[in-house]
């Protein structure tokens, strides 16, 4: 019996050495250690032996078992490394078509996200507007000198026009909504412009406004700084200065440092070292009065910026016309 066991062991080791795939190896493992395996059966026969033999053979079987298990495990590792089936993960494939958002949509989404976190809702309004909502209610009566900043496209002169800014949504919202509210609006606006690489008759604006008891210039400054820092980068320098807009009083202009020249002055910033980013201010008391509010009891702020330049800068587009004429290749 002793010899049988040693023969079986040697035979098994020889067989295992010959093997070149995992399936055969598993087959041999079952032949040895399976329910009817050679080693398993030998173990079952132990009970028929004398106590002395039982002890001796028992030890031998254990040794053989350990040896064979180790040989099988080694072979298994060996096979995994050396006899792997051919597989090429570098094979080229066709990528499934997924779509892409327009750069302007991406910027609007990103900006909106920042303002949502500051408690702003999103609104929208008509593009075909009346002089009333686009100008009159915004403290821009006819023949106001500031009207020459905005030459509009008329559908019926002088009352029906394409909105020249998203501020028309501000007047509509103040009329419709009950304070407190905070709103951002992104949308198409139109101006009388001869189309060239840097001007288009249609452009996008991003506007925000808030109306709430107790809102002050510090809230405006904090909101805008928070937005500019999250969108353009914590390290950007910001200039918060006085600027006249008829819709606000006091009025604010906000510039950020020109990163093209590190503020040394270049053609992008016209030598100023700063890039004009947005206009803002506290909602003009006349506008609040137009809607029956007492400016001493409730206050608000508003801000607006052109989006196209930001989109062009972000996606390295040089010609404003490329944004909306189907030139963008995804």
């Amino acid at each position: 019996m002793k010899e049988d066991i040693i023969n079986s062991k040697n035979q098994a080791i020889a067989q295992i050495n010959e093997i070149d795939n995992l399936n055969d190896l598993e087959q041999i493992r079952i032949e040895l250690f399976g329910r009817n395996g050679k080693i398993t059966n030998t173990t079952k026969e132990l009970k028929n032996l004398s106590d002395e033999d039982k002890k001796q053979i028992g030890i031998l079987i254990n040794e053989v078992k350990n040896t064979l298990e180790k040989v099988i495990a080694d072979k298994k590792n060996d096979l995994k490394v050396n006899f792997r089936e051919w597989f090429d993960p570098t094979i080229p494939v066709k990528i499934k078509k997924v779509g892409h958002l327009h750069p302007t949509s991406i910027v609007i989404l990103e900006m909106t996200e920042i303002f949502k976190n500051l408690g702003f809702s999103i609104m929208e309004g008509p593009e075909i507007e009346s002089d009333h909502y686009n100008f009159e209610l915004l403290n821009l009566p006819k023949d106001h000198p500031a009207r020459s900043l905005q030459d509009v496209l008329y559908i019926e002169e002088p009352e029906t026009l394409l909105r020249s800014h998203t501020s028309s949504v501000e007047t509509r919202s103040i009329e419709k909504l009950k304070p407190p509210f905070r709103v951002v609006v992104a949308g198409k606006c139109y101006r009388f412009e001869n189309v060239n690489a840097s001007n288009n008759a249609m452009f996008y604006q991003f506007q925000g406004f808030a109306l709430q008891k107790g809102i002050s210039m510090t809230d405006l400054k904090g909101t805008l700084f928070s937005f500019v820092k999250s969108y353009f980068g914590e390290e950007r320098k910001i200039r918060f200065r006085c600027k006249y807009y008829p819709e606000v009083e006091p009025g604010v202009g906000l510039d950020i440092d020109c990163k093209f020249c590190d503020q040394k002055g270049c053609s992008v910033c016209k030598g100023r070292g700063w890039i004009e980013m947005l206009g803002a201010g506290m909602i003009h008391p006349q506008i609040l009065k137009n809607f029956g509010y007492n400016p001493k009891k409730i206050s608000g702020f508003a801000f607006g910026m052109g989006l196209d330049r930001i989109v062009m800068d972000r996606f390295k587009i040089n010609d404003i016309r490329s944004l909306y004429n189907g030139d963008i290749r995804y």
Binding site: L118, I128, A146, L149, Y154, E157, C242, E249, P250
Partner: protein, 640 residues
């Protein structure tokens, strides 16, 4: 506004550091546009915003510099004039309230010469040509004080003048040789029927001074700003005088400007005059009162300013404090600050000089208002994400269409170019242009979508409707099926059930056209044009039609699945057959078209009961119902 620094320095001490000066001016509201150097002189070009009429002058900018740096203005020499109500030889008739003030003075024995160098240099630095001493001096005083003035040839204008509204069709040739036909809204200076000048903007040629003029009538005036503005824009008269008179000028600058002019005439001995100015000033403007509440200032600005700080700023800006108590002050606004009429204007004055950079930065610490974003805006975002997830790239185009596509009743009456004249009535034309660009460039396939508005007029109302348009083109044969599959996948993604495709002939240039229906209501249309497939869906029609999201578990009892091959007559809509099969019995869970061979169509049918496994007999019964229905409705027979 061009500000030559040497000139500014005559009126106020200018800091040596130009960069600091321009930065400080920018902070208080006068942004530096650019710095120029001309004949080694530094000239600031400041962007002015229209509300500060007083800043269209060197004096106005000097006042700002004086307020920023708390320095005194230098003395400006003048010859004080006595104001008189009548001139000896000239009568001026004014019937319109559009004239607020007129100052006039006769200057005799004028010596017209070349301007001295200091004078011509200053004008050239500002950007004006030098003509002769008298014309240059009117310009010089205008730039310095902001008050435009005009000199007539006294010997040509006669002795009876009038300022009145023109008659429609009256004509004038300006000294710039332009012909202008006036309207009844234009204010003019006249001598009988002859027009001498368009008030506030430009003089007539014949009556202006020339090299042999002997005597002049010098005038400075103040008019109704809005009227001048209309004239200036109507006739494109954006002259240096015009751009000042269209803003709210201070009428009290009239005599100051004339006095300043006389100072130079006397100093250089360019003419003779009696220091008496004819003054038409029916309603004198005096400094007005604005109240300032300290608490309001501090709450509104977020600053904490004490009275001394407020006082110093206001005094440096030439405001006067006439009354003070614990809560606030009454302030007298100098008449050149026509832009300051409200308490909030006063607050801006104080805060801008104190420094916007000193306002603390505090993110909205107030209660967060509730979210009021309307559903249709959320819908657009979802549609956009869904459209890209099924492979469409987003297109954004102008809201205008080219003339060849005009199918619209909304047009722009003042289009800057023919391409911006017609507002679109469908997203199709611009998507078509974009798609063709891609076909021509790469020619593999095109998948574009756009979300935007279309515009039309209905019963005198202008209507805007939000649409989503899909355009598709592929080299593959089964393009329509592929496109339809993508559109239905899109509907699946936005949780709206598949719309019905109903064949219909449309007005557009489409072949194979159809409309899309949901619950029997039209929600869109589609068709083919130049082998490009298009679908346009109305966003408001599908708004709120989304299925409530719910979880379905797998039914415990397995379905019986079998294929039925049917022989179908020509021109039968397959969609209707599938619809009919599904309607036959509620245990028909699903029907799919598996295969087509000639006129044989194989459908795969799932029979399934929610509470038990259907036995063959039960299935057979349902199958017979199907065959019966199809035979009656469509004349369909079952194969084999």
């Amino acid at each position: 506004m061009k500000v030559p620094l040497n000139w500014l320095n005559k009126l106020v001490e200018v800091p040596k550091d130009v960069k600091k000066l321009t930065s400080d001016l920018t902070m208080v509201g006068h942004m530096l546009d650019k710095i120029e150097t001309k004949n080694s002189e530094t000239i600031l070009d400041l962007e002015l915003r229209g509300n500060r009429a007083d800043c269209y002058s060197i004096l106005g900018i000097a006042r700002e510099v004086s307020a920023i740096y708390k320095t005194k203005l230098k003395n400006i020499p003048i010859i004080t004039v006595k104001k008189i109500k009548e001139l000896k030889n000239i009568n001026l008739d004014i019937q319109t309230p559009l004239v607020k003030r007129v100052g006039m003075i006769e200057i005799k024995n004028i010596k017209i010469t070349k301007s001295p160098k200091w004078l011509s240099d200053k004008l050239i630095a500002y950007g004006l040509e030098s003509k002769n001493n008298i014309v240059d001096l009117t310009n010089y005083v205008m730039i310095e004080t902001g008050e435009p003035m005009h000199a007539f040839d006294l010997d040509k204008i006669g002795n009876s003048l009038e300022i009145r509204l023109a008659k429609d069709g009256e004509k004038i040739i300006t000294f710039m040789d332009a012909n202008i036909t006036l309207t009844k809204d234009d204010l003019v200076w006249t001598k009988g029927n002859e027009i001498l000048s368009v008030a506030g903007s430009i003089g007539e040629k014949y009556h202006s001074i020339v090299s042999d003029t002997k005597n002049i009538l010098l005038e400075a005036a103040n008019y109704d700003r809005a009227n001048i503005r209309k004239t200036v824009y109507r006739h494109n008269l954006l002259t240096d005088a015009g751009i000042r008179h269209e803003k709210e000028l201070d009428p009290n600058m009239v005599d100051f400007a004339i006095s300043r002019f006389l100072y130079f005439v006397k100093k250089y001995n360019w003419g003779e005059f009696t220091p008496e100015m004819y003054d038409y000033y029916p309603k004198e403007i005096k400094p007005w009162k604005v109240h300032l509440d300290f608490a309001y200032l501090n709450n509104f600005s977020g600053l904490t300013l004490n009275f001394n700080e407020i006082k110093n700023i206001l005094l440096n800006l030439q405001f006067e404090i006439i009354k003070k108590d614990k809560l606030g002050i009454d302030v007298l606004v100098p008449t050149h600050r026509t832009d300051v009429t409200l308490e909030e204007d006063l607050i801006e004055e104080i805060v801008r000089i104190y420094g916007y950079d000193k306002i603390p930065t505090k993110t909205l610490s107030l209660e967060i208002p509730k979210n009021i974003t309307p559903n249709y805006i959320i819908q657009e975002d979802k549609l956009r994400q869904s459209a890209i997830s099924v492979g469409f790239d987003e297109n954004i185009s102008l809201s205008f269409v080219r003339e060849k596509y005009k199918d619209t009743n909304v047009t722009i009456i003042n289009p800057p170019s023919p391409d911006t004249k017609y507002l679109r009535n469908s997203l199709f034309p611009n998507l078509l242009d974009s798609a063709k660009k891609i076909v021509n460039e790469r020619g593999e396939f095109v998948q574009l979508f756009e979300i935007g508005k279309i515009y039309f007029k209905e019963k005198n109302n202008y209507i805007e409707k939000r649409k989503i348009g899909f355009i598709y083109w592929s080299k593959e044969k089964n393009s329509f099926s592929d496109f339809k599959s993508l559109i239905l996948t899109f509907f699946n993604k936005i949780d709206i059930k598949n719309p019905d495709y109903v064949s219909e002939i449309l007005n557009f240039n489409f072949t194979n056209s159809y409309i899309l229906k949901l619950n029997n209501n039209q929600v869109g249309f589609g068709g083919m044009h130049d082998f490009l497939y298009y679908v346009e869906i109305d966003l408001d029609s599908i708004l709120g039609k989304e299925n409530k999201y719910k979880i379905n578990l797998w039914v415990k009892f397995p379905p019986q699945i079998e294929d039925l091959t049917l022989i179908i007559p020509e021109k039968t809509y397959i969609g209707e057959i599938i619809h009919s099969i599904k309607q036959t019995n509620k245990y028909i869970n699903d029907v799919e078209l598996e295969d087509i061979f000639e006129n044989s169509y194989t459908f795969r049918i799932w029979y399934q009961h929610p509470d038990k496994t259907l036995v063959d007999k039960e299935v057979e019964k349902i199958r017979n119902e199907i065959i019966m229905t199809l035979k009656q409705k469509f004349g369909i027979t079952i194969k084999n």
